[in-house]
Amino acid sequence: MAGETVLNRARKATHSFPAGIWLSRSTVNFNTHTPGVMILGVGFHEHKLVKKALMKFYALGPTTAARMMAKYSIHETQRVGQLPAKIVTSLTGELSTMTLENDAKRVIQDNIARLKDMNSYRGRRHAMHLPVRGQRTRNQTETVRKFNKLFRTR
């Protein structure tokens, strides 16, 4: 459709997920012509750095990515296209055992919901979209309004 934005396409593509949970925009591969290398069902361009590719998964940060790379003797500038198929399979196998993407988001949501259910101060602050850790609310609460929600999506 003309004028359709990338984000809208992502929203449509993921409408079947539970309310409030989207696939993060970064992990969805819109380029259907060149899927590249598939890691855990996500296509990455072969020129992408392995470290960056791993960090595209929600809840996988630089430390975990560096540890995974060390485990398979992958150096820092290695590209996804240079990985042998065997290592791609191993990486996929290892990633599938980890709590990533929607699972990780659910964990965060559950934690917040637990705080709310016990009627704790932190839970109430989350529910009200207000700072949780004692910050002032006079100014600069834009990020808080984005993130501190009962059903957190990001």
Binding site: A66, R67, M69, A70, K71, S73, H75, E76, T77, Q78, R79, Q82
Partner: protein, 499 residues
């Protein structure tokens, strides 16, 4: 607004046809040039014009609608994009000739020139064959001023003759020279290494050169000439860029604590097989794991070339065994510039995420074993490690070893005046101490005035230095260059007068 072009570059107004557009451009420039003040800050505060209320990028915007993106102007050709790697290739290019420089007739390097006392203070040209070999060994650096002269030529200094005569003497007696080159920044340490390499090539030695120690540890510095690999199809591959960051793979060596750098070793095997005349020597020992049906006519050249198809580390070991343990082979020279980089922990990690010591990388272990005297080739030769002062990591053990050896060997101080270790410092590394314990030191300092005069006369004869070279001028340049530090002398005179 400042003029976009300098006034000298504009076409002459009289006697030339000026288009209307060009006249308009000149008029615009002239009116804005004579503004007594600058309005750029006020104009840049909010967008392009006064009516544009769109805040600048980075300015915090609270609420409200953002203005629609401005339309692209038509008729302006898109700016040409630089291909990935081109800027780096341009920055790192090595030019060995300048056709605008005058040719200077000089003696060409031969097998005895660098070790002869009579050569001190002379400028020698590098022969074409030596030049090709040095280029393949990546012996030239982009910071050296080869691009100013017609043909690569080099000053033979006292340190050069000291080193090369020692190398020659050791090789005659089947001994092995272990040497560290230290000295001030831009004093010419890398140039002395290059001269040692040229001397070794001229005497048909087996040469292994690692142009930069950071090569192993920094993932950005691997530089293998892809022309050697026969990859000439892609322009970027021809420049060697694709091989720069993509092939520094590492892997554990089974049944040992060592780590291999397969592609780096392949590159060095290519360098050795291309530069040295290994085809004269046949393989003596048998290597069933590499060649199940080993031909009796297999040469060292064939062995080195098999590195691309076989396990490169196994081939390296086999070649090294042949070169160091079998008598009758030519002497070996192994050089490593910026060797402080390989005397510390590397950036690689084990499978348990522990950092790997550089000495556990197998190739570096070969260098360290030679330097420490654990491995002594039967036919002799030399191992040379040069420090780099412009890119040197802080390694306490290296610093102390260099200080101690300079005091002991160069200044020849008595035992009680030699520098002591810092008693409460825990940064000393025993593995490094062990490697450097027995090494000799060669201090490269400033050149003397005779050598300074020789090099300045060469600059003048090449047309690159347009002053009369007399006693006064030589002394002045020598003093400006921190008492003959050759890089500083170049900076003070040669590069200063560059147009």
């Amino acid at each position: 607004m400042a003029p976009l072009r300098c006034w000298r570059c504009l076409p002459p107004a009289s006697g030339a046809l000026l288009s209307i557009r060009r006249i308009a451009a000149i008029t615009t420039i002239s009116t804005s040039t004579f503004q007594p003040f600058s309005t750029s800050c006020a104009r840049n505060a909010y967008g392009k014009g006064a009516g544009d209320s769109k805040p600048r990028k980075g300015v915090h915007r609270v609420g409200g609608k953002s203005s629609p993106p401005s339309k692209k102007k038509k008729g302006i050709p898109p700016r040409l994009k630089v291909a990935p790697g081109d800027r780096r290739a341009f920055r790192k290019r090595i030019t060995l000739s300048n056709i605008n420089a005058l040719p200077v007739h000089l003696e060409t390097l031969d097998s005895k020139a660098f070790s002869s006392e009579q050569s001190v203070g002379k400028i020698l040209a590098l022969g074409n064959e030596t030049l090709d070999k040095l280029r393949r060994a990546n012996a030239f650096k982009p910071t050296q001023s080869w691009n100013m002269f017609r043909k690569p030529s080099t000053l033979v200094r006292r340190e050069t003759v000291n080193l090369c005569s020692k190398m020659e003497k050791n090789a005659q007696e089947n001994k092995f020279l272990r040497c560290i080159i230290s000295g001030e920044r831009v004093a010419g340490k890398s140039m002395v290494v290059l001269q040692a390499l040229a001397h070794a090539y001229a005497n048909d030695w087996i040469v292994v050169n690692i142009p930069d120690g950071g090569y192993f540890l920094s993932v950005y510095m691997l530089y293998i000439d892809s022309l050697e690999a026969g990859e000439t199809t892609d322009r970027r591959q021809t420049l060697g860029y694709d091989l720069v960051i993509s092939h520094l793979d590492y892997a554990p060596i089974p049944n040992s604590n060592l780590w291999s750098l397969p592609t780096t070793i392949q590159g060095l095997l290519r360098q050795i097989s291309g530069n040295s005349d290994l085809s004269k020597h046949k393989v003596v020992k048998s290597y069933p794991n590499l060649f199940p049906n080993q031909s009796p006519n297999l040469t060292l050249h064939g062995l080195a070339n098999s590195g691309s198809s076989n396990d490169s580390w196994a081939v390296w070991q086999a070649l090294w065994t042949e070169l160091t343990e079998v008598p009758g082979r030519p002497p070996i020279l192994m050089c490593l510039d910026g060797f402080a980089h390989v005397m510390r922990m590397s950036k690689y990690r084990t499978k348990q995420f522990e950092p790997i010591h550089a000495h556990d990388l197998a190739l570096i272990k070969t260098f360290c074993d030679l330097m420490a005297g654990k491995m002594v080739p039967v036919q002799g030769g030399a191992v040379i490690g040069a420090l780099s002062m412009s890119n040197q990591p802080m390694v306490k053990s290296v610093e102390y070893a260099v200080q101690y050896k300079e005091a002991q060997q160069v200044l020849q101080l008595p035992e009680e005046e030699l520098p002591k270790r810092e008693p409460y410092c825990r940064e000393y590394d025993e593995r490094v101490d062990e490697v450097l314990r027995e090494a000799e030191i060669l201090k490269v300092g400033g050149i003397n005035k005779k050598e300074a005069r020789a090099i300045m006369e060469y600059w003048a004869a090449s047309g690159m230095y347009r002053h009369k070279v007399d006693e006064r001028r030589v002394t002045e340049t020598w003093s400006l260059g921190g008492h003959g530090i050759i890089g500083e002398m170049e900076r003070a005179s040669l590069r200063n007068s560059r147009i």
